[in-house]
């Protein structure tokens, strides 16, 4: 049992981890009947139980002194309205939160869930009974809907009937990267404080990390354009097979409650609400908007920081990088097991230095840790002749066992491989927030025309700006991020700064190489999207047509060998890059009339962005200024 492991107390991170508690232990030791009798919402838990037992090897609940934090939460609920903000990676999130709060006799939260869940027969009802209420995914124009909905949430908060729970990211992240936070609900829950209707509101970021995600392959397919199946109960039952597999452990970390009052201190002038009756809804002003936005980023970053990383996350990163390198060199696929282990240990130490909350089983030898991780994810990796490689060749046969292999076109084969690659990438993505800032700096050093600090900064700032739809980068924090990246790289002996010049140390090349390779798929992806817009985009391309068209373009490129990163096929990346280009004004979306949603491309600008991304053009001052 992971929680029983003996850790040294030198590392505060380990100390933090010591406090995990296995909340299923009791459950495993008691009979089902006794357990069923404990439930006071039997429908929910009867359904849930069979899933749980087979699905979870261990489930671990963490906090600084578990009881203490639970008490703190209890107290927080008692003192001020509490808003729980879990990360959203799986359907399971809903049930897990309610389950944990129920286990610890805390008030069950009311949960804002997407409308589409309600359509699921049994499960919708189950979610509702566990406290969910359903909201439409978008209700931009419907004022009445908005009014009723926001009043419901505010009433819950003001009267303190129950904690409110919703997902800052708005939807499940298919890529395991945190999504740019949505502000609507956060606005609603902050409103009662800003208008003085409650003294304070406590926001609790909750990080739920899955060792293996239930929807892993489903997400990859969705990203590749196989449409998301309508949420249906029969679909869930068909998917029962997956429940008999081993999904490793789930970590739930309740972060420190954040008081909205202290966030707003010296930030928001609450007097602005004095002159208008508070029941009249008003669009939040610029200052409120930026306050809520900043808070949202802060909370998402808090979620990220408390995400537990498993060894597999590091292995997936290494295997992906290796896969692409081998592809270029056209060498034998795969990596020797002992080499992988060596690299994993190196990366483990590096990520710890960068502050990763890594759950590496220190009580077993590294090779054991590696092989147990690999066996958990045996759908994604193959071990043959002592070499580890991504399970690409079998991918086709596995998904369609009935069909003869000859029917598989190169395109289909590519898509089947992409499922595996994207699944792996989603695990790699879990570690991105650890390496993101140093990686941006590494890439900036790589692309900048000189190693002058200012040049590198310009380049860094360009990349950061370019990727701010892709990763969680707090708006307006470029300088802090740059300094954080410099600090980490200098601290780990990768860089030295001599008189405003960056000098890469001898042993720094390995780290820098790893970091640039981490970001490279994204760089290439954005470039290829730019190239598509310059070369291949037809006149009158609409936003809806964009993803299919760019996908075709990319498939062509990959098949002809001009692009090596299969993961660029992810529609998430394509949409994010379009959003970035729209934000930068390189592409415009026409509004109104017949041309609604048509994209108008500024080819000169897109071209220059592409070149800058590829390091062909220096980060011009002009470009930076325009950004």
């Amino acid at each position: 049992m992971a929680s029983e492991a003996v850790y040294t107390h030198r590392d505060p991170m380990l100390k933090k981890r010591d406090d995990f508690e296995d909340i299923l232990e009791e459950r495993r030791n008691s009979s089902d009947l006794r357990y069923a009798l404990r439930c006071y919402i039997p429908v929910l838990y009867k359904e849930l139980t069979p899933c749980k037992a087979s699905e979870l090897k261990s489930m671990v609940l963490q906090s600084d002194q578990l009881r203490y934090v639970i008490n703190q939460l209890q107290q927080a609920i008692h003192e001020h309205p509490v808003v729980l903000l879990p990360s959203h990676r799986s359907y399971m999130d809903f049930l897990l939160m309610s389950y944990i709060l129920y286990t610890y006799d805390l008030a069950l939260p009311v949960i804002a869930a997407g409308m589409d869940f309600m359509a699921m027969k049994f499960v919708g009802e189950m979610l509702r009974m566990s406290g969910a209420f359903f909201i439409r995914r978008s209700f931009g124009g419907d004022k009445l809907y908005w009014a009723v909905f926001s009043e419901y949430v505010k009433t819950m908060l003001k009267n303190g009937f129950a904690p409110v729970e919703f997902f800052l990211e708005g939807t499940r992240s298919r890529t395991c990267k945190s999504l740019t936070p949505k502000l609507g609900l956060l606005n609603i829950v902050m409103d009662p404080f800003l208008k003085g209707e409650v003294f304070d509101v406590s926001l609790v970021p909750v990080s739920i990390s899955y060792e293996r995600i239930l929807e892993e392959a489903l997400y990859a397919r969705e990203l590749l354009g196989v449409p998301k199946p309508k949420e249906s109960t029969s679909g869930l039952f068909k998917a029962r097979k997956v429940l008999s597999e081993d999904y490793g452990s789930i970590h739930v970390y309740f972060g420190q409650p954040v008081s909205v009052r202290s966030l707003a201190q010296n930030r928001v002038d609450r007097c602005q609400f004095n002159l208008i009756p508070r029941h009249i809804p008003r669009k939040p002003g610029e200052d409120i908007h930026s306050f809520v936005n900043d808070s949202a980023y802060r909370l998402v970053r808090a979620q990220e920081e408390n995400m537990v990383l498993k060894p597999w996350v590091l292995l997936a990163s290494l295997l992906l990088q290796n896969h692409h390198q081998m592809q270029v060199a056209e060498q034998k696929q795969g990596m020797a097991l002992d080499e992988l282990t060596e690299q994993a240990v190196w990366l483990r130490d590096l990520s710890r230095q960068y502050g990763a909350f890594l759950h590496w089983p220190d009580h077993v030898s590294p090779s054991e840790a590696v092989s147990s991780s690999l066996s958990l994810h045996r759908g994604l990796v193959r071990i043959s002749e002592g070499r580890v490689q991504l399970a690409l060749e079998q991918a086709g046969g596995q998904t369609r066992p009935g069909e003869p292999c000859s029917a598989v076109t190169p395109e289909e084969e590519l898509l089947n491989q992409a499922v595996i690659i994207l699944s792996c990438a989603s695990y790699r993505n879990q570690a991105l927030h650890i390496f993101l800032r140093p990686a941006l700096l590494a890439s900036a050093i790589h692309t900048a025309s000189s190693s002058n600090k200012q040049e590198v900064y310009n380049s860094f700032s360009f990349l950061r700006n370019m990727f701010s739809n892709e990763f969680i980068l707090c708006p307006g924090a470029t300088v802090q991020d740059f300094e954080e990246a410099c600090y980490l790289l200098v601290k780990t002996g990768v860089l030295q700064i001599n008189q405003q010049e960056f000098v890469v140390t001898e042993r720094g090349h390995r780290t820098l190489g790893f970091l640039t390779r981490m970001l490279d798929p994204f760089l290439q992806g954005y470039q290829v999207v730019c190239r598509f817009l310059c070369e291949d985009a037809t006149e009158g391309l609409t936003e809806k047509q964009f993803v299919p068209a760019v996908r075709k373009f990319i498939i062509r490129h990959i098949l002809t060998g001009r692009l090596r990163y299969t993961e660029v096929l992810s529609s998430d990346l394509q949409k994010n890059s379009l959003a970035a280009l729209l934000r930068l004004g390189a592409v415009q979306k026409l509004k109104g009339g017949e041309e609604q949603g048509t994209l108008k491309v500024n080819k000169v600008m897109v071209n220059s962005l592409e070149d800058t991304l590829g390091g062909k053009l220096p980060t011009q001052k002009a470009v930076v200024a325009r950004l």
Binding site: G196, F199, D200, D269, R270, C271, N274, P277, R278
Partner: protein, 543 residues
């Protein structure tokens, strides 16, 4: 009068040898009585103990050598002497007029610390005397600070430390004569404050529902300014002659001149007076009831709603009862309310009422108000509770002096707020006080209580009491000021006003610009610049 505490020298609270509280003197209803509940309330509320005393470090007799010698403008003094107006530069007279009743002012006096005090005190007897004084002050460039009753709680009487000219305190308190009518204006400080002071601070009295606030009571004002005398030509009850010049005077806080004559409305003494009280199960219901009373415009001369803490505070001031019968009745009442009616003793709150007028109308009015209260779950709780509530406001300042003998410091402050925000402001400001005290290292939980003390069509005046035990703090006054500052910010953030009737003075000056806008500030400044270009009335209040 005390020079380092509130009120008459003969009236004060103390704990006798048995540890029971007593109030000395014979001026008040409580005078000479034993108040058995006060000690327990005091100890349990503040965590204070009678063992831990902090008596004033200086004796009741003022040590004049500790006061700075006066800076006199000889030419001014010479000319003034020739007019025959009484004057003094005696240390005691000067110290007495150097302060109001803010906590930090009294605390400093008790420790025998004196900052800048006026260099001289003059006592004009009539309008013409004032005209002469102001003329001479202009001629010799002397700073004048008008003084009324010295009950200010806005640091308005503090001498600006940066003032280098000779400061003359112009005491107007002797200029009022009695004549057997009533004006109906009864601020809590009315025994000590002065008419000129009421006008200069835009005061409010507790019976404003019948008689009005000062701006409703004043018919005519005469003020002496460095530019000459300002007054109206007639006593018409209302005029449409541009902005009312009286409103430059009311609330000018001594920055423009000296109010020398005020014509006020007077009313016959009321034939009949009756106190009353209503208990509500909680504060929310109470506020709803007061709002309904305001909506129906049937508020009695005074209606106040005390929260639970203040109700308990008032209860602790119950004097010892003489007969077993009354104590039995009290017990029965308590049983009825808490057990039979199910009111939670830690949530219930009480409204105190005062009716005035002819007997028949008072009784009718009373019924109307009790009927409204019943709709909000209110139970009539007798005259006695009501009267005690009002007594609390007259003795609260004496109680503060008692607290200061035992490590407890406190203060009151007020605001006005629209009806829909009354509950929110009460909750948030009280919570903010408690949180700030905790953050600032106060070891004991503070008393943080409020009452809705006046009702208007559009809102209410809310009055906060805040006190804490400062044992373990090195600079209690500073902590106190930080907490009060935070509380005021909270008030403003919750839609409350900067002040309902205490005024701005120097204490709340920093928020004036936000309160009246930049243009508003400019308007006030330009009036000051025209009326008093050399800043003769240099107390630096308000602007």
């Amino acid at each position: 009068m005390k020079w380092n505490g509130w009120g008459y020298s003969d009236s004060r609270f103390f704990f006798n040898k048995k540890g029971q509280a007593e109030f000395t003197g014979r001026r008040y209803r409580l005078s000479g009585l034993i108040i058995p509940g006060l000690k327990d309330w005091f100890e349990s509320t503040f965590g204070a103990s009678l063992q831990h005393k902090t008596p004033a470090t200086v004796s009741p007799i003022l040590n004049s050598s500790a006061v700075q010698p006066p800076t006199l403008n000889e030419a001014f003094v010479e000319e003034l002497k020739s007019t025959g107006i009484p004057l003094s530069h005696d240390a005691e007279d000067r110290v007495f007029r150097a302060h109001g009743h803010c906590l930090h002012e009294i605390f400093a006096l008790r420790e025998g610390k004196f900052g800048r005090v006026p260099d001289m005190v003059v006592w004009p007897n009539c309008h013409n005397d004032v005209v002469k004084i102001v003329e001479l002050a202009c001629k010799h460039n002397v700073c004048l600070i008008p003084y009324g009753g010295g009950t200010s709680v806005s640091s308005a009487l503090e001498c600006p430390p940066e003032e280098t000219r000779s400061i003359v305190s112009l005491d107007t308190s002797q200029m009022l004569n009695e004549s057997g009518y009533c004006t109906g204006h009864e601020p809590d400080s009315m025994e000590f404050s002065s008419l000129g002071g009421w006008v200069a601070t835009r005061a409010s009295g507790m019976k404003k529902n019948v008689y009005g606030n000062i701006e409703d009571l004043v018919v005519h004002v005469k003020m002496v300014t460095p530019q000459g005398v300002i007054e109206k030509s007639c006593q018409g009850p209302r005029m449409s002659t541009g902005p009312d010049v009286h409103h430059f005077i009311m609330g000018s806080e001594g920055t423009l001149g000296v109010v020398t004559e005020v014509t006020m409305k007077i009313r016959p003494m009321p034939e009949y007076q009756k106190y009353g009280s209503v208990v509500f199960p909680n504060f929310e219901q109470g506020v709803a009831c007061l709002r309904e009373v305001a909506r129906q415009r049937c508020a009695p001369a005074s209606i106040r709603l005390m929260d639970n803490e203040q109700f308990k505070f008032g209860h602790a001031l119950k004097p010892q009862v003489s007969s077993i019968f009354t104590s039995f009745l009290d017990g029965l009442k308590k049983f009825y309310i808490t057990k039979f009616k199910g009111f939670d003793p830690n949530r219930l709150c009480v409204a105190t009422l005062l009716f005035e007028g002819d007997r028949e109308k008072v009784l009718q009015h009373e019924k109307q108000v009790y009927d409204i209260a019943a709709k909000f779950g209110g139970l009539a709780a007798g005259e006695d509770n009501g009267q005690r509530g009002y007594m609390l406001t007259f003795v609260i300042a004496y109680l503060r002096d008692l607290g200061m003998d035992y490590y407890v410091i406190g203060e009151s402050f007020e605001t006005s707020v629209p009806w829909d925000r009354v509950l929110d402001i009460c909750r948030n400001v009280k919570a903010r006080i408690i949180r700030e005290c905790k953050d600032k290292g106060v070891q004991f939980s503070p008393l943080s209580t409020c009452r809705v003390t006046q009702t208007y069509d559009a809102g209410a005046c809310v009055y906060f009491y805040f006190a804490f035990n400062y044992r373990g703090l090195s600079d209690p006054v500073h902590v106190y000021e930080q907490v009060e500052h935070a509380a005021r910010e909270e008030i403003l953030a919750n839609g409350g006003s900067l002040s309902h009737h205490h005024g701005v003075g120097k204490l709340r000056k920093e928020w004036m610009r936000d309160t009246v806008s930049k243009v508003g500030m400019g308007m006030l400044k330009s009036v000051k610049d025209y009326v008093d270009p050399n800043n003769i009335f240099g107390n630096r209040n308000l602007l």
